[in-house]
Amino acid sequence: MTVIEEHVLRLDPEEARRVRQQRLERIGRWLLPLAIMILAIWLWDRICVWNDIPKYILPRPGVVLQTLFDDAGLLFSSLLVTLKITFLSLLLAVIGGVGLAVLFAQSKWVEMSFFPFAIVLQVTPIVAIFPLINIYVDNQTTKLLLCAWIVAFFPILSNTTLGLNSVDRNLRDMFRLNGATRWQQLRYLRLPAAMPYFLGGLKIAGGLSLIGAVVAEFVAGATGQSSGLASRIIEAGYRLNAPRLFAALILISFTGILIFLVLSLISHLILRRWHESALKQER
């Protein structure tokens, strides 16, 4: 900045107040949740101490952290099993969801005929379907994958379908005028236009595939067949090993948050140049 501009930039009290306000908000956005989180953990710790709660009912935060380190080998190898199911099912959800959406987009008739099936699959609780899957599918991994997939694919399918159908009318006319083929229209117009919708669906599906994987492990784990994080939780529950239960829970939560953040970042990187949702507020 030049000297002249600095001279011009003498702020009146109202603008100065606004700048101060903005700076406060920027800091507060991080500091406040962090402070509340620390306060909550401190309160948790105090409640345990004040009431003499035994650690098999409610362990102190320090004990949970200690367990997280002590049982790291066991917990992380289980986490890896869960993660494998999560990512594979997310991948299949993307392929299946986008593939079906593209198929639906080819004709209103196809969409009208088959969309209800997708809804039925979505609204039926996965826990209720699992016994059937258990009968029909032998392979343990396949079983879990199928479960997690059923939970995760719907948001991708429904969002991508919406996106493929939300193309600006004039743009569609423009493609028609230029003699675009069906494939060209899909490739250069409808798929890029659906991208923001797809990425929105992906963010939801990322969390759902983790939930799907854990739920599937839970149901399968009840019959003693699983080695993922859910089975560690069940096990710990049986043995009244509350610290490990908490440690496993924290691990799942953090994994979910991480998945969400990574998918948000991917979405931002893809959309940042053109889509409203990724643009910084200009003022």
Binding site: D168, L171, M174, L177, N178, G179, A180, Y188, P192
Partner: protein, 276 residues
């Protein structure tokens, strides 16, 4: 839809070039019963800058969509006798909004019509760059639409419509959403482009001043049902520039066109006695 006809084209007020396209008794009735156009006769000559001027609801946009082939007439026919089938499939169209691909940069947006015809990026590059230079957008190839002003977006849209070198350019109120200063500037630049190459333009507008400034023919339309009310020849010589905009001749022509437009609006039957 485009039957050949041997009838002699009716002479138009100021047309000198050979006939490119004639609308013969063209009508359009929508499925909801609205008569958008009724028995329109209009001959478009090569090199015409023809404006369709009229109140909203007079079917001027519908006429444009019929010419573009985006809609088919209910009655009458489009006589393309003056042009080959290649020309018919090569129509430039500029919409009221810029209608750009928001995710693609300026180069890719202008390349698109060629890309859809199978022209590679390398092959298209010289043509695209030349077109961008002609609309004064050199240096903005890599900008995305949201980084451009409304006027610049419209320039991209014009470049895209012109990149395939169509013989006829259809424009549907292209500058209606722009501020007056930008609008004047784009009027001048469009006219410059047209004066250089003398392609044919059909320009839909509801601005008397714009139509008189740009065109050699102004076709005034009336509503309910949409029809041609009267045609005016704008016999001012080209090139026209800012000096023309302030000349007494321009003012007189605008008054004349304005009077005709008022006549067209008054001739419209009220919604209660909508008689044919």
């Amino acid at each position: 839809m485009m039957q050949e006809k041997v009838a002699q084209a009716p002479a138009s007020a100021s047309g000198k070039g050979p006939m490119l396209l004639a609308l013969r008794g063209v009508g359009k009735v929508f499925s909801n019963g609205v008569t958008a156009l009724s028995a329109v006769d209009l001959t478009i000559r090569e090199g015409d800058f023809l404006s369709l001027l009229g109140p909203s609801g007079c079917g001027k946009s519908t006429a444009l969509r019929l010419i573009a082939g985006l809609a088919t007439p209910t009655s009458g026919l489009l006589d393309w006798r003056g042009s080959s089938s290649v020309d018919r499939s090569n129509i430039g169209f500029v919409f009221q909004e810029p209608t750009l691909l928001p995710w693609a940069d300026v180069f890719d947006n202008v390349w698109l019509p060629l890309r859809l015809k199978g022209v590679s990026r390398a092959k298209a590059a010289p043509v695209v760059m030349e077109m961008l230079a002609r609309v004064h957008l050199t240096g903005f190839e890599n900008a995305v639409p949201r980084e451009l002003s409304g006027g610049m977006k419209m320039r991209v849209s014009i470049a895209r419509a012109m990149v395939t070198k169509p013989r006829i350019l259809l424009m549907d109120e292209p500058f209606a959403a722009l501020d007056e200063i930008t609008r004047f500037k784009l009027n001048n630049d469009l006219l410059e482009l047209w004066q250089d190459e003398r392609f044919t333009v059909v320009f839909v507008t509801h601005s008397v001043f714009e139509s008189v400034f740009l065109s050699n023919r102004v076709v005034v339309m009336a509503a309910r049902p949409g029809r041609v009310f009267k045609e005016l020849a704008i016999d001012a010589p080209y090139p026209r520039n800012e000096a023309f905009r302030t000349s007494p001749a321009y003012a007189a022509l605008c008054r004349q066109a304005s009077d005709v437009l008022i006549g067209a609006i008054n001739s419209t039957a009220g919604p209660h006695h909508d008689g044919h």
